[in-house]
Every structure is written in C-alpha cells, then in structure tokens.
C-alpha cells in the first residue's frame, strides 16, 4: 500500500526547471546531429534528389532532438511521430495544420480552453500528457526548441 502511494507521487518528471538539461542537451544534440550529417554526406551521391536529402536532414534534426532530451513526454511523442513518418516515408511539415485558430468562441473560458488545446496540439504527443504536466512539458519543450535553433544556427554559420 505504501509502495503504491510512493509510486503515485512519482508522476512528475522533473521537479524544477532543468538547468542540467541545457548543457547536456546541447552537447548530445550536436554530437548526434554531426555524426548523422556526416553519414548523410557520405551516402549522398550526386544523383540523389534534393528532397530526399531534405527529408533525411529533417529527420535527423528531429531525431537528435529526441535523443538529447529523453525523459520528457514530448520527446516520446516526437519519437513516435518520427518513426511513423519514417516508415511511411512521408515528410510532413509541422506547420499550422493542426490549429483551428480561426474559431471564434463567445465565452472567455471556452476561448481559453481552445487555446490550451491548440497549445497542446503543438507539443508533439501533447494529447496524451495529463493536464498537470502540460505546463512542465511546455517549459522543457520551449527550452529545447530554443537550444535546437541556436545549435542549428551555429552549425550553418560555421559551414557557410
């Protein structure tokens, strides 16, 4: 009984905003991405379609994200999504497809809920995250996104 209670309490992934995640994330991210990109570079022959390369790179970019930030619900969701896409060989653009932002609700509460839903749909695997964790996951996701952008910019700046 007590063990059950203990397990119940351990639902939360992280107890406070993870500073540690930041440094480890960047390190892991770059290492994964660089090795993956080198592989792509080696494998690409001149005849290969530019789109294919794009898809591969995009896949690797997101995969590196997943691998560098494990332990979050959104990273699991992202992994699932990537695997599904990779199998089907479909590169979907994560743009604004999912948002129903044009809805006009009258009541403020409903609007708020609508927005929360939109926000949750933005997070990969967001629908499965329980309400209490949504904000935590959102924090870590935004942080990792920021760092990802930073790293990518560095890479590109370096190689251009």
């Amino acid at each position: 009984m007590e063990a059950q209670q203990q397990n119940k309490r351990r639902r939360v992934y992280s107890m406070e905003p993870n500073k540690i995640v930041q440094s480890i994330f960047a390190r892991n991210y770059l290492s994964y991405l660089v090795s993956a990109l080198m592989k792509i570079k080696e494998n690409t022959s001149s005849s290969k379609d530019h789109n294919d390369i794009c898809k591969n790179v995009k896949y690797e970019v997101e995969m590196a994200m997943v691998l560098s930030a494990q332990g979050f619900a959104w990273s699991n969701g992202l992994k699932v999504k990537l695997q599904r896409e990779h199998i089907n060989n479909v590169a979907t653009t994560e743009g604004d497809n999912n948002l129903g932002m044009e809805k006009d609700s009258v009541r403020e509460d409903k609007e708020d809920e609508e927005k929360m839903k939109n926000l949750i749909s933005l997070i990969p695997g967001g629908e499965e995250i329980c309400d209490e964790q949504v904000v935590n996951e959102l924090e870590s996701y935004i942080k990792c996104l920021q760092m990802q952008v930073n790293v990518l910019q560095c890479l590109i700046a370096e190689t251009c």
Binding site: K19, S23, R27, L37, V57, K58, E139, I142, C154, E158
Partner: protein, 363 residues
C-alpha cells in the same frame, strides 16, 4: 489502510468493523488533529474552537484529551497553519453534524494508538506534500471565511480551502486548484517566452506562447532545410567551429569575449579559450551557451587540458562576482564530471550542488 481498520476495531472493543465506517474514522482523525492543534497553541478558526469547546464539555472527552497529550513535534510542525484537506474521491464528510463527532470521540478510548498512527502518516504526508501545501498557503490565510472541510485518509491530497462565497464542492475545488497551479507555472513561462512580460492576461499569454512555439518550429524546419542545402559542403572542423567568431556571432551584445582574449589567455588553445569565454558569458548573461557542452564533447580526445582549466581557480575568481554563476556552474561540473575523475574543486559550496544535480540527472 488495513492497519487503520484493525486499530479502530480494537478501539471499539472488538466491535463490528462495519460500524467504524470510513467516514467516522475520518472524523475521529480530524478531531484528534484539532485537539492536538489546540494544545500546541496554534491559531484556530472560530468554528473549530466552538466545536472543540462543545466537545470539551463531555467528561469522557476530557479524559481522552488528557490522554492524548503526547507531544508529536513532526505533527505540530506539519499542521502549523490550518490546513484543510481535500479528498480526491467524492467522499465528503459533513462536519457540521457535531453530534456524530462526539459519539465517535467517546468510542475511541485508546487515543494513543490512533494518534501515533496519524503522526506517522502525517509525517509522511508532510514530507510528500510540502510543495502542494505551499501552493495553498495564501488561500489558507483567509481563515474566518465560510470554509468547508473535506477530510481524507490518504496522505497525498491537495490542500484546498474554499474561499468566502465560492463553490465548495469537490469538483470545483479541484478545478480551482488546477487553475491556480497552471497560472503559477505560466509565470515561469513568461520568462521563457520573450516579450511576454508586458502581457497580463492569461489569454494573451497563451497566444504569445502559441505564436512563439510555432515560430520556433518553423525556424527549425527552415534551418534544417538550409542545412540540407549546405550539407555537401560540410566540413566539420571542430576547432574552428568553436573559435571566437561563433561567440561573437551569437552574442554580439557582449564585449566579454574580446576582453577575455587578453594576452594572459592567448596562450591557451581554443578549448580553454572557450571555457574562459564561457565563464564570462555565463556571468553576464546568466545562461549557458550551448557551446560549453559542445566543447566538452569535442575535446574528448584531448581531454587532459580541460580539467586543468577547472582546477585553475584563478580564471574563475577573475570572472565571477555574481551569484548567478553558482547556479550555472554546476552545469560545467556536469559537463566535465561524467567521467570518473576526481577533480578537487576549489570552492566548497559547489560540491553540494553537484551532488544534487547528479541526483537529478539520475531521474
């Protein structure tokens, strides 16, 4: 739970277990808590006091009360504020029926056992739920309102107090707790999302956050496409990757990198330069440039140089006056300490943090 059942049946003198329903046990528990609180001299709401005084008239109760004088420091500390517990399931106890209370109290002759058990449970409860309770402290301070009490037996429940004139059923209380939690974390999100500080309303903030996440995702997409275009020309010369220009590009506002490359530091190789630059950057910007982590990774083959940097306190004493450095520095620790190397670190306060952060990593 079974324990409780047994003890309560003992208390009734081996009577029917069915008589001591969950409800009554809860009431008994609250009763004892109240008594305890009374004797430890903490603040009490008027309603509680009234109830207690009524009960105090009963002689049997007086006996019980004197018996239950065993001090329980943990228990005291835990219930310093008046906390109202809320049960997640829908069992509500109507505490306004004072007759039942008296009856239950009389039945429980052996108070010590129950009290002990409660003490144990409550200490566990205290340790597990300090965070949750803190959330409700400000609402707890509104004592004299028409509060409704809801009891619980299980430890991991959220404290909620219904404020004056607000709905008091468990669903809306749960809803309110949820909303309060979310709004609290929203404040933290405000710091993350740039430009969110001016916006006050929750709706506006949500909009901002949505826009920001979308823009970040689009940026990632765009950058990955650009990377794909650049890919054939990739030549990952790592040392160059971490040359100063990267810093100046990403942190154009700080003049720190140029400062750090004074002649004293020029003799270092690029990795060390990176670290010293990073120290300055951390100091001023309060963030960890991702390149620190990168530096560690890249220099794995030539890792001997890095520890020396960490050991060289002269660099860091030069760099860091501010306290933000402390919090960030543990990241440098983690970056370096993943290999089993005993590096004695010059300043003591950090060791504790390293351990704590290592623990977090294991999670």
């Amino acid at each position: 739970m079974l324990h409780c059942l047994n003890t309560s049946s003992n208390l009734v003198g081996g009577g029917n277990i069915s008589d001591m329903t969950v409800l009554e046990r809860q009431r008994a528990r609250i009763k004892f808590q109240n008594e305890h609180q009374q004797f430890s001299g903490n603040g009490f709401s008027s309603s509680h006091q009234q109830q207690f005084m009524m009960l105090g008239c009963d002689s049997a109760l007086g006996e019980i009360v004197t018996n239950s004088m065993k001090p329980d420091p943990d228990y005291e500390n835990g219930f310093d504020e008046e906390t109202v517990k809320k049960r997640k399931t829908d069992n509500k106890v109507d505490l306004n029926s004072k007759d039942k209370r008296i009856k239950v109290c009389v039945e429980e002759g052996e108070s010590k056992i129950v009290e002990q058990r409660k003490g144990q449970k409550n200490t566990k409860f205290n340790n597990g739920n300090k965070n949750k309770r803190e959330n409700c402290e400000d609402s707890n301070s509104k004592e004299n309102s028409k509060g409704s009490e809801i009891q619980n037996q299980k430890p991991d429940y959220i404290h909620v107090r219904a404020r004056r004139g607000q709905a008091t059923d468990s669903h809306s209380l749960a809803e309110r707790v949820r909303r309060e939690k979310i709004s609290e974390r929203m404040k933290y999100l405000q710091d993350l999302v740039p430009g969110c500080n001016k916006i006050a309303g929750k709706a506006g903030m949500l909009d901002e956050i949505i826009n920001y996440v979308q823009s970040l995702q689009r940026q990632v997409e765009f950058l990955s496409m650009k990377l794909a275009a650049v890919n054939p020309r990739l030549d990952f010369n790592i040392d160059e990757l971490f040359a100063k220009e990267v810093f100046t590009q990403n942190f154009p506002t700080t003049g720190i990198p140029s400062e750090m490359t004074n002649p004293a530091y020029l003799q270092f190789n690029s990795a060390q330069q990176l670290v010293s630059c990073c120290g300055g950057l951390i100091n001023n910007m309060g963030i960890i440039p991702p390149e620190i982590g990168l530096c560690r990774n890249i220099n794995a083959p030539t890792s001997a140089s890095l520890p020396e940097i960490f050991l060289d306190s002269s660099i860091f004493t030069h760099i860091l006056p501010s306290s933000t450095w402390e919090g960030n520095f543990q990241n440098l620790h983690n970056v370096d300490f993943d290999q089993a190397r005993s590096i004695s670190f010059p300043s003591q306060p950090f060791t504790g943090m390293v351990e704590a952060s290592n623990m977090k990593m294991e999670m």
